[in-house]
Symmetry: C2
Amino acid sequence: MTNSTRNELSFEPDLLLINAALVVVSGKWRLYIILILGEQTLRYSQLSERLPGVSEKVLASELKALVGLGVMKREAFAEIPPRVEYTLTERGRLALPILRQIQQLGQIFN
Amino acid sequence: MTNSTRNELSFEPDLLLINAALVVVSGKWRLYIILILGEQTLRYSQLSERLPGVSEKVLASELKALVGLGVMKREAFAEIPPRVEYTLTERGRLALPILRQIQQLGQIFN
DNA sequence: CCGTATCCGCTGCGATACTG
DNA sequence: CAGTATCGCAGCGGATACGG
């Protein structure tokens, strides 16, 4: 776009962007939870099964946070027994390719 | 590649890879520090200038951690006054494109 | 100039038990 | 089934002062 006065190969990374991204990814389980969900729709219990090692409290609070961040959406059905389904939002699906690349990062530093 | 027996769109993310990646990126400043350095070689004081808000202790310990992780390397020159330079390793440069994409992630969730 | 030494508050993460 | 409630601790990140 505008031909800036920037001199050479140095570009200033935007701290705000970085922090916004880190919020989505950070924490021991957040990224893992998103990748497990992927393009599927899963119930709470299904997520729980596929996330061994994540305690109930942590899973519940992480899911709530991710919903709040607009990564995934939560649908509750007023049935007996109760059913709650989680699905990535459009933003979440948009982010998926990048999130999968973060795994590749792990391969570089294994 | 090999036609696997996997049924549909679900693939299992590798938790170990994810954690290896998160170590490089996590923390309030680690990713920012790497992106600031980029392809340049910078002295400690130059890094410090470009990282307003990062305390000396945190910067020093983060740099040490990043060197330990193999992201960047540290060269100390026995001069007066002392000079220390930081440069990304090959792994670090390899990781750069992905790290920059993480910023893009921030744009999705701004 | 380039760090280390101390001290310390906050919150991320976990175990366990309980509820609509 | 799908979560809260409660308790607890370890470690990150920060302020400040000092050292080779």
